[in-house]
């Protein structure tokens, strides 16, 4: 049965640049693609499935008889559908993707190949442990690297993404306080923090208070010290911070928090700036998550999967989650689960996901780490910081750089919308960059800077690419300063013009419905 019996044709564009209409709505290589619900039907399939054996059903009388409404496509149609969709995406493979705080670096294809080796990809999480020794060895080897690179005491490999890692660290803090018999309900977070920090603290049952920043974009140590007390469980600090600056007072912050009986959580989203140059363990950090999909190059996949191992200090390591891998005296690897935790890890706060971490990300990250080695990883940080400073200094004459006087930036350069013409904003610059063939930077974050633009080039860009990007951003910035009206309607050359986000939120359409089509046809 055809789900959409009336067929589908893309809407004809009117106005804007779409002055020349085409029959299909396509623009040569810019191909429109319908939804699977409009082109597929429930009787088509792209797989050949062997006929089932004859057997009396034992489904408890709960057979599904009603139509489900899942369209199928043949294999060639499927390949074409998704290939066409893919071409409407920008990606690191296509060009510079300078999203600040996201570390969009090159994703080596060796990592993809290794993750797909049968011995890693085709292994069940509950197989007997003697049948997965190689997989456990990978987890252990990566764990050792992460500990060495950060100078920390231990690492929890279970968390499934950065925010899940934050949760892991915060639960460790909560468990440690419980073990001390203390109830400290409060977590302090700088105003410039990622939104996940306060959200995580609240998710784990803490109250959150902001601590202010200094005029030069760093944590206000005096204000922090003044707020510390017996109600403070800890602080969550990003270092390098979200203004792209190293927190010079990090050690003093840690010492003050420890003296007041609290713990220091560090958001490690920006670890790429310091890997191989600075070890967070030397700065008094108690817990820090590492986004393997940032610093260690695992692909971001259009929104994940991530992986967020958390390195822990000696004070917090006893409370880390199960399961984890332990190297035994006989040279074998053991997965410590509920059963053995009582003997081997008695203070664990428990399990935080069904199985044992993002194996497919571990293989990729370790492949990246081994490829770079200790010397290469140090060079990663140096080139990432060099590239960001180069962008900062090449653009500070046309874009306001609020903290440029604070000294060099780390791996990302921060600009504000100050100096743009009346009515022009950061958003216009972002959309103008799209027309220039670049993904925009992170916009309107951190919140402490008006109309923030946070540019993180990463170390995997050549000087030629950086120079072209600088030229493009300079051009767009000048247009915004001069009030070029054409910029207000950018992007002009993307698959879509600016999208109506207000409409999407006011009248949410989150799934496709047959009825809609009928209405549209009226």
């Amino acid at each position: 049965m055809t789900i959409n019996q009336s067929g589908w044709r893309p809407e004809m564009g009117t106005g804007g640049d779409d002055t020349v209409a085409t029959y299909t709505g396509n623009r040569a290589l810019m191909l429109e693609e319908a939804l699977i619900f409009e082109i597929g039907d429930s009787s088509t399939t792209g797989v050949d499935i062997a006929p089932a054996l004859k057997a009396a059903p034992r489904l408890g009388g709960l057979e599904r008889n009603a139509r489900i409404g899942l369209p199928g496509l043949s294999e060639p149609e499927t390949v074409r559908h998704y290939t066409r969709l893919s071409r409407q995406n920008y990606a690191i493979d296509l060009g510079l993707f300078p999203l600040g705080s996201c570390t969009m670096k090159h994703n080596p294809r060796l990592n993809e190949k290794i993750a797909r080796m049968k011995g890693f990809a085709d292994v069940h999480p509950l197989q007997p442990q003697e049948t997965v020794q190689g997989a456990l060895a990978v987890i252990q080897e990566l764990a050792v690297w992460l500990i060495e690179l950060t100078g920390m005491y231990g690492v929890a490999m279970a968390p499934k993404a950065g925010a899940h890692g934050e949760l892991c660290g915060i639960l460790c803090i909560k468990a440690a306080l419980e073990a001390r018999g203390e109830d400290r309900p409060l977590i302090l977070v700088p105003e410039s923090a990622h939104g996940t920090n306060p959200a995580t603290a609240a998710f784990a049952g803490f109250r959150v208070e902001n601590i202010p920043a200094t005029a030069e974009g760093r944590v206000d140590l005096a204000a922090l010290k003044a707020r510390l007390g017996p109600d403070v469980a800890g602080v969550m600090i990003t270092n390098p911070n979200t203004c792209g600056l190293f927190e010079r007072d990090m050690k003093a912050i840690s010492d003050a928090v420890h003296a007041a009986g609290g713990y220091v959580y560090c958001d490690g989203a920006n670890f790429n700036a310091i890997v191989g140059r600075v070890r967070p363990g030397d700065l008094g950090i108690d817990a820090m998550h590492i986004n393997l999909h940032k610093t260690f190059s695992t692909p971001h996949g259009g929104g994940g999967p991530g992986s967020g191992p958390v390195v822990l200090s000696e004070a917090l390591a006893p409370f880390g989650p199960i399961p984890f891998v332990s190297l035994m005296k006989d040279g074998s690897y053991k997965l410590v689960e509920e059963e053995s935790a009582g003997a081997l890890h008695p203070q664990t706060f428990g399990r935080m996901a069904a199985f044992h971490g993002q194996m497919g990300m571990f293989t990729r990250a370790l492949s990246y780490i081994l490829s770079h080695g200790a010397d290469g990883l140090r060079q990663v940080a140096e080139d990432a910081v060099l590239n960001a400073n180069y962008i900062l200094r090449c653009l500070e004459d046309v874009l306001d750089a609020p903290f440029a006087a604070s000294g060099p930036c780390m791996h990302e350069a921060l600009f504000s919308d100050s100096g743009l013409a009346e009515g022009f904003s950061t958003l216009d610059i972002a959309k103008g960059l799209i027309d220039e063939g670049f993904h925009p930077m992170t916009v309107y974050f951190p919140l402490v800077v008006h109309g923030a633009m946070l540019v993180e080039p990463t170390e995997t860009e050549s000087k030629a690419t950086l120079d072209q990007f600088i030229g493009a951003l300079r051009s767009v910035a000048c247009r915004a300063r001069q009030g070029d009206a054409a910029l207000k309607s950018a992007p002009h050359f993307a698959p879509r013009h600016r999208l109506d986000e207000t409409l999407a939120a006011r009248k949410p359409v989150l799934v496709w419905k047959e009825a809609e089509l009928a209405q549209a046809a009226e």
Binding site: G13, R58, G72, I92, A202, E459
Partner: protein
Amino acid sequence: MRYLPLTQPDRQAMLATIGASSIDDLFVDVPAEARLPGPIVGLPNHASEMAVERHFSNLARKNMAASHHPFFLGAGAYKHHIPATVDHIIQRGEFLTAYTPYQPEIAQGTLQMLFEFQTQVARLFGCDVANASMYDGSTACWEAISMAGRVAKRKKAVLSSGLHPHYVSVANTMAHFTGDTLETALPALNAATDAERLIEAIDDETSCVVVQYPDILGRIGDLSEIAAKAHAHGALLVAVVTEPVALGAIRSPGEMGADIVVGEGQSIGVGLQFGGPYVGLFACKEKFVRQMPGRLCGETVDATGKRGFVLTLSTREQHIRREKATSNICTNAGLCALAFSIHMTLLGERGLRDLAALNHASAVTAAEHLSAVPGVTLVNESFFNEFTLKLSKPARPIVHQLAERGILGGVSLGRLFPGAPDLENGLIIAVTETVTAQDVETLAIALEEILA
């Protein structure tokens, strides 16, 4: 250092532009005592592609890969055949190396895919709406309990004894810190689900009742009565599906009154991967949409009136609401959601139903065969592609003995429920379309010898 394009002259020229004499000048804000003087001592330096690949090949060989052996493991992760098309498409750089679609004009590929994914999940689960994915089934399960608490404004959840014990563990971890109360129980090795216990336990304090369908032992129970009782007391029914292929054969939880349906999407398109990354599925009734966690993709129009898609209702999310967000989740499982969606598109309704029918028939045949082995009885009356056997001896050592014979022979209840003597003779067997009659015969012979 093949991933680093800058040359030494580039670096010198850039330092000159910046006005720095050396790279160290850019790290001046790092306190002197924390600066590392050179590469960390004791760690190896960079390695060639060939050397790295060889290292991993050696480690990979030390694992028993599911495809190379008779394989019967399930219990929350399932081995299905994944069409080659799926892995080809998810490796296209435009999908693989894109970020979360913050700039919708140049992310329509990811966004349209997510809109299709949300619709597929909602329809499969029998719900109005679904989100753009969670980390995995277990974390989605806690998010559902947490959401039900927000909706019902209560803090006590009743968990079925048929819920995967690792999902229970995850919920217990979180509930301990949030102050929620969870009523849990161990399953019994018999054919009936614990529906009666659940119905009994629901009262006016209950935020939700959480039921796995099919449950950890593979049993399939009607959820309608539980839903009715829950609704009569202002509580929600949360259904958990760890094997979504089942819903090609059995009624959806939504049809039976579930308010929130979550699941593990791994078995469609994603693969085993030793436990991750997987993809959490999350769907619910439309009236609860503003309490949902995670990203949502919605339809809209662009400035010229063309249809397009954006991330929407983000006022629920951490980057806007911060400590008042519905969840702290940011990155989810986008690429695994894509794999799920491609596989589901290839299957279509007809393929999904055929695949489910093949799984079920193979499992029924295998259950008959295996329960004819002396010392083996079948616990289930109803099941989809997974059932529980009760052996005459503890199952846990037997799993290791089977592995010695090259058979990956199921998941013992002793591993899942350590310290529960009543369950230690239980063995969960999954039979998907990848299991051959010869595999079943091999397992039956081995079990007969071991149990003799």
